[in-house]
Symmetry: C2
Subunit: 195 residues, 2 copies
DNA sequence: GTCTATAATTAGATAGAC
DNA sequence: GTCTATCTAATTATAGAC
């Protein structure tokens, strides 16, 4: 069907845009580079998305769709799971998600300084609903600690996967390997929420 | 003196470049924008630094000069300080440094994907010497944990200060305030190296 | 729907006035 | 040493062929 092909092409473009923008920032990547990555012409981007700005929003939508899907289980744990174990599971899943999608943190860092319109939209549309779920799982810690816990967990979980080449060159440890991902999860869970 | 004025102008340009590149990435910021921030003409950048690439290197030099200066005390603690207390001091200082210079983590994340020449140079010239000092302070933890500890501490310490607008809008907490910086340090030190 | 061609703007680097 | 003017290349967005 035409509609299927249309959707497939759009997703190809959005995925290319998401990865490229996460790597080089909104201003740091050209629509031509995105088009090349998606194996389409530059003109097609304007056809499917009116502007580079609109393409950025589509990329954000896709990013949070993936993130919410990946975090769904730990954000809505069955009541039978103990609160402490819920937190351990949350951290572990944050590590696995960050390893699979380092573009999440990169994208979130990129919006901060570039443009406050995009920034506000991103927080209200996508980040706040996710933060509420995070707060729900963390609910029994002091309320003033919640912001600190969020950025601590996010940074501790994800930074190593945002700099894999640097980490490999510096330490010899490859954050892309499954063993290293598991080791990072084990390390963090035991460090931050010991049993 | 001429030499002093020359040095002052150069530093103005380097500082503007460092902050701008950290915010928007190497490709994300134009030399014109950097020149405007430094209150000089765009042509002057080419006079003092041969190319945008060379300006990036000068910015990296300045960044690590500041970082090493700020971390000097905790990296070379007197032997009278207990190892556990050394680690607590290290984390606390990492928080205060990250708060004062969020451009450090931003700059280090930016080099990762942009260009591997710059990336290799940065790791070997500046990051490796600093990592050795980190390892020295952390020395009594298992060797395989060191890379995980580095990126955990760095991410946990600094991410919140890399997204101050987002954090403020999302949680109401302003990472720019002194009270919040201290709270983050207290939270992290007690979480990661409890007495 | 997708491509090629192109218009208007902005990029990094150079040349020359002062 | 610093600025203005300018060159060539690359940028986003548009127009029109198929």
């Amino acid at each position: 069907m035409r509609a299927e092909q249309r959707e497939a092409t759009r997703e190809q473009i959005v995925t290319a845009a998401l990865l490229a923008i996460s790597e080089s920032g909104f201003n740091g990547v050209s629509t031509r580079t995105i088009a090349e990555r998606a194996n389409v012409s530059q003109g097609l981007l304007t056809y499917h998305f009116k502007s580079k700005d609109a393409l950025w929003r589509a990329a954000a939508d896709q990013l949070f769709a993936i993130a919410n899907d990946s975090m769904q289980e730990v954000f809505s744990p069955p009541a039978s799971v103990e609160p402490l174990q819920q937190k351990r599971n949350l951290i572990r899943q944050m590590v696995y998600f960050s390893a699979a999608h380092p573009e999440f943190i990169r994208f979130m860092l990129e919006h901060e300084k570039e443009n406050s319109d995009r920034s506000r939209w991103l927080v209200e549309t996508h980040l706040r609903p996710m933060y509420k779920k995070f707060v729900h799982v963390m609910g029994d810690i002091p309320e003033t600690d919640l912001p600190h816990a969020l950025y601590t967990f996010a940074g501790a979980s994800g930074l190593i996967f945002c700099a894999p080449n640097e980490c490999k060159q510096l330490t010899g440890v490859d954050p892309g390997s499954k063993a290293v991902i598991k080791r990072h999860a084990d390390y963090l869970v035991n460090l931050m929420v010991p049993e």
